[in-house]
């Protein structure tokens, strides 16, 4: 028991690591929020572009969506960080993670929103057109509000899952929670900072996981 307390719940070590790990946690939160904003707005933009039904554009978006839904997130981050400099493009760790994870979230949200648009009964389009609505108001007043309601729980779940990927930032030198805790662990030769990091992750993600459970319930009841 003493050994566990000494190694994993060492108060002195945790106190020493606290400032660095908290700074890391701040970065985790910032990267997560930026990823969600970038990813969902880009995904919505892509889904709207598909509504324009321009064939070459549709194909390009479909390829983008498949690529970023299929490749592992870590592969994308490593590629951006260690591959792009050969193109003369050097990205900071922060930009790498927000861009990489944002691109993945954009692909998933684009697909989810587009599927939701397709899932609406065709009568919705017909009725709106019969009322004399022009294409753009029809899209924004009739189709999107319903599609977004259908898509929200799925996008929320995906956003939470991808946000957990911010821990991968440690692979591209982003000093987020996990990376800071690992550095502290190496310096102090004691894994208590990892316990601290784990506790912070739980603090951040347990409410989100609970939220996704509530949303799933709501969908299950509606369906």
């Amino acid at each position: 028991m003493d050994r566990i307390a000494e190694n994993y719940f060492n108060g002195a070590v945790i106190a020493a690591a606290l400032p660095a790990v908290l700074r890391g946690f701040g970065i985790t939160v910032l990267v997560s929020l930026s990823t969600i904003v970038v990813g969902i707005s880009a995904g919505l933009g892509l889904a709207l572009l598909r509504c324009a039904a321009i064939r070459p554009l549709d194909i390009a978006i479909a390829i983008y969506v498949d690529l970023f839904r299929t490749l592992p997130q870590l592969v994308i981050l490593v590629f951006l960080y260690f591959g792009m400099p050969y193109l003369g493009v050097t990205l900071s760790p922060f930009v790498t993670v927000v861009l990489g994870l944002g691109a993945v979230l954009a692909a998933f949200s684009a697909e989810i929103i587009w599927s939701a648009i397709l899932a609406l009964p065709p009568g919705q389009w017909d009725a709106a057109r019969a009322l004399g609505l022009r294409p753009v108001p029809l899209l924004f007043l009739v189709v999107l509000p319903q599609a977004v309601r259908l898509a929200t729980p799925l996008i929320t779940n995906r956003a939470i899952a991808i946000t957990k990927g911010t821990a991968l930032g440690t692979a591209v030198s982003l000093p987020e929670t996990l990376g800071s805790a690992q550095s502290a662990m190496a310096i102090m030769a004691n894994p208590s900072p990892l316990t601290l990091a784990a506790a912070l992750y739980l603090l951040f993600f347990i409410p989100l996981v609970a939220l996704s459970r509530v949303l799933e319930r709501r969908v299950a009841r509606a369906g």
Partner: protein
């Protein structure tokens, strides 16, 4: 005839699609590809089975145990899987428990996905109308047989799309094993890149990942679209 390396297109090809580099490092990449597949086929059945076990335990347990299982599932789902891996690989040795990179990766990914699969199966079982189980029990079927022959087939049909999607995510997740120096595909590509001084191995590894996973991703997308249209 061909323009020299000052030409940007040639420069791009030399860096990102250099055949000489590829010839030099492809055995390394293939070995990594094999390890990625091995890691996936070891982890996926373990995670699916333990997730199913948790869900079945949930469906047969009383209120107190249920509450504990939900908390356990949520904690497993709340941890980023890389945090679990680091805890297991770098944290446990301080207790004298040293796992090799492969075992640590299997354990971390399986634990995390026990939460995911457990939640999916649980939702599926809950979506089967209680009358199904009651009718089967009234016919004199044993509880185990009710579960295996009546409840689970219907439950799994209801959650095929999330199950498939999660299986795909699990295989993608195996790439985090590269961060504990397991020479799977991504790690091999990074090692190869240090030999070739160009990102061609990374491009090749990405293509291999894509070739492996794309058919599966298409299938998942079709299932999800159908689920969205029919409500389950």
């Amino acid at each position: 005839m061909w323009p020299g390396p000052a030409d940007p297109v040639q420069d791009l090809i030399d860096n990102f699609a250099d055949l000489d580099s590829l010839v030099r490092v492809y055995p390394l990449l293939l070995q990594g590809f094999g390890l990625t597949i091995l890691l996936s086929i070891v982890t996926l059945p373990i995670a699916t089975a333990s997730g199913l076990a948790v869900a079945v335990a949930y469906s047969t347990a009383g209120t107190g145990v249920r509450r504990m299982l939900v908390v356990a599932i949520d904690i497993l789902r709340a941890f980023p899987v890389l945090v679990l891996l680091v805890l297991i690989f770098y944290g446990l040795p301080f207790l004298g428990l040293r796992l090799n990179a492969f075992a640590a990766a299997v354990l971390a990914i399986a634990l995390n996905n026990t939460g995911y699969f457990g939640e999916i199966f649980r939702a599926g079982i809950e979506a089967v109308p209680p009358g199904q189980g009651e009718a089967a029990a009234a016919l004199g079927l044993h509880r185990m047989r009710v579960l295996i022959h009546v409840i689970l087939p219907q439950a799994i049909r209801k959650v095929t799309a999330p199950l498939a999607s999660n299986a795909l995510e699990l295989v993608k997740t195996t790439s985090i094993a590269s961060l504990v120096s397991l020479p799977e595909l991504l790690r091999s590509a990074r090692v190869a890149q240090e030999q070739t001084y160009n990102p061609t191995p990374l491009v090749a590894a990405s293509l291999l990942f894509f070739a492996l996973l794309w058919p599966f991703a298409r299938w998942v997308a079709r299932l999800e679209r159908r689920a969205l249209a029919t409500g389950h």
